[in-house]
Symmetry: C2
Subunit: 433 residues, 2 copies
């Protein structure tokens, strides 16, 4: 008999079916025992009355892999409204030991570091699994939205000859006796590819050797990058980003249905137009509200971002807020200045509930502007000659953004520690599993 998924059981009430999966839980009561089977989809309740079979199952460690054939009976009070009766059970692969913690409890009863140490088991918990599915659904939404808009997917190298933006915080590798680095971002490559496809995206790992041990830092993470040519200015990019975020959340809703709800995750509904304030306006509002003097500040402090988040919620009825026009001094060399106020840029941040979520902006596109920007910062253009060739040979106005997947998922899902939404996190202290 062909195996069906546990999630399909309600459609098979009254029939005989085959299931397979892991022994998630076994509850022995006086008259009847309940085996909860977990497969890739959901859980299924199997009723066991035969004492010999109860004894046989009781002997098996939880997480043993079994196949079950039995009758699907509609039972109103059972989970999903169905149970399996009269099961025949075949052990496919017996666990060699019980799991390090109970997977059937609503939350794993262990500290996060212990869970991460035992990720191969902890990830089987239905909540961990739901978060990983949420991540996959958001990535699928990122791709499908951009593909629909004629973006082409690219794969750019992660081993690079020069640090992307600054020399600091890069991992060094020995490349056949030559020094090389792990890419901190596909920024330079995705810009080059605007010259080829006009619109490109990439989903891939990036590496930051930042020695910070905080709930929001990872040393390796997945970056969702997009870059688009023939824009008017950064507002074209902001509009694209809004469409992409709506597509990502829409994809999660379509793929996952009520799954996030089951774990208390409320996905936000980004508005069709996300409100925006200029950096200088934001500063003026904060000064007016708090009396803080922000003269000479070139960035927003976390407390300022929180204030802006509350303001956006209150005054604009939005969890999302664009802050535009960050000062040039705090933005990378390739950032396009605001033509009307050259000390400010066409760079933006997207805040979500008072936390920086995504950074983006318009880039320089003229060769001469690059040479001037590098010169102004005292950077040697020679190591970047390969990159500058794209601009020397004609590039349209362009811009883009980068979404840090794990941080995005954690914030959207209201989860504090980014490690909870990363399968196998890499941080200052963690290299295994």
């Amino acid at each position: 008999m062909e195996r069906i998924w546990s999630s399909a059981l309600p459609e098979h009430a009254g029939e005989s079916v085959s299931l397979a999966g892991w022994i998630h839980r076994f509850r022995q009561l006086s008259g009847v025992s309940f085996l909860i089977l977990r497969d890739a989809k959901e859980l299924a309740q199997i009723v066991i009355e035969d004492p010999a079979l109860v004894a046989e199952i009781a002997r098996l460690p939880l997480e043993t892999v079994i196949a079950v054939t039995g009758d699907v009976i509609a039972v109103e009070q059972a989970p999903n409204g169905v149970e399996i009766h009269d099961p025949r059970i075949e052990v496919i692969s017996e666990a060699a030991a019980p799991p390090p913690f109970d997977l059937f409890r609503p939350k794993i009863q262990a500290q996060l570091p212990t869970q991460l140490d035992h990720a191969p088991v902890a990830l089987r918990h239905v909540r961990s699994r739901a978060l990983a599915r949420l991540s996959a659904a958001l990535v699928a939404g990122f791709r499908s939205t951009l593909t629909e808009l004629d973006f082409t997917e690219i794969h750019t190298p992660k081993i690079v000859a020069a640090a992307t933006e600054r020399g600091a915080n890069v991992f060094a590798i020995d490349y056949f006796g030559r020094p090389a680095f792990l890419a901190q971002s596909p920024q330079l490559y995705k810009q080059i590819m605007v010259g080829v496809f006009e619109r490109v995206f990439e989903v891939g790992p990036v590496f930051r050797a930042e020695p910070h041990d905080t709930p929001r830092h990872l040393n390796e993470y997945v970056s969702l990058d997009a870059e688009m040519g023939f824009i008017i200015d950064h507002t074209t990019v902001m509009s694209l980003l809004t469409t992409v975020i709506r597509g990502m959340i829409g994809s999660a809703q379509a793929w996952l249905g009520s799954l996030p709800d089951q774990f208390g995750i409320m996905l936000p509904e980004p508005p069709a137009v996300i409100p925006a304030v200029h950096f200088t306006e934001a500063q003026a509002m904060i000064t007016q509200a708090t009396g803080e003097d922000l003269t000479g500040e070139y960035d927003l402090a976390p407390s300022h971002e929180r204030w802006l988040g509350e303001w956006a919620r209150r005054a604009r009825d939005s969890d999302f807020l664009f802050v535009t026009g960050y000062p040039r001094l705090k933005r990378p060399f390739y950032t396009h200045p605001d033509p009307a106020r050259p000390d400010y840029t066409n760079g933006f941040d997207l805040l979500f509930r008072g936390l920086e979520l995504i950074t983006g902006g318009q880039r320089l596109h003229r060769y001469g502007d690059y040479l001037a920007a590098l010169h102004e910062r005292g950077f040697d253009p020679e190591p970047l000659a390969w990159y500058l060739e794209a601009f020397r040979n004609g590039m349209p106005p362009h811009g883009g953004f980068a979404i840090g997947l794990e941080r995005f998922v954690s914030r959207i899902a209201g989860i504090e520690n980014v490690r909870e939404v990363t399968l196998f996190p890499r941080d200052l202290n963690r290299l295994v599993p």
Copy 2:
């Protein structure tokens, strides 16, 4: 006026439209001049008669970015059957220099290393671009086929504490003072994730420090990995792989239409069932045909694969051929033996026109089997304890495969050097661009 793509021009005959893109070519004839514009989609022919405009365009380096507004006129002998007449041209971004080689010729007139040095320009050539699109379409087909079959996408770390399979050929990095390595494969992680989702896939970079400078080696490439639980044996995986390859080629056909044809690329049509021969049968056939004594050979030489490719074409009418049952000595420790002939495995290779294209197989799934396999090879299980935990806690029979994207694209497209289908290749000598 809103810009349209060059590919949409035939639908707009008789209308006035706006286009934007790069000056691909400018042909000045005595009475009339032709500007060929290239945008992300195709080329458009613009007819210029005004001598002042001809002079203005003649002054601009090729690859200058322009916007064009003009009338679409149906002209039978023009490319795509349309031309733009009476153009108004605006320079958006002037190139600072002419391109290092002509992009308008059928092939770039420069050796491959020179093309790779100038990748930001060379990738703009319509043939290079078509190959990059083919690659993107194949990856999209990989994902959509697996998603349809309930596979979940995962992202696993590229910085790892231990080499995946052997100590050799790994890139070492300094991870905050500790030794670490770049992952050669997501193999161990994708197997762990079978315990979570049963069916998983990953698209991501892998790194091999192989000091080989050949047309088929890259030191960083994109690996398309899939792994599936609850299989019968390797034949389930072979059937899955057949479906996936058919889905990939189908996606390329659907996305690209006649584009491959334009560049002489004939995509194969994989049969619904790909023929298979056992390793020992393959050896016996080769011995019978060539007289070569293969006793004690644990692998197939390239000449043997070529012979098998010709045989498959002749005797089975197929460009594809599975070779199954490779000897255990030549397969990684996690390979499942053939229960009936334990010196052979449930591992397979897929050959395409006599070249190894993809490797896959059934893996061990019992904890005790792993301990025995590691012991037999003299490997210490301790550094792999994190991986073995998945098997200690119950794992179903499972297997999978890995497709090296660039090699797959090059072979499917009949292109000899894998660098031609890699945007920015990394090899023994190349780290830039």
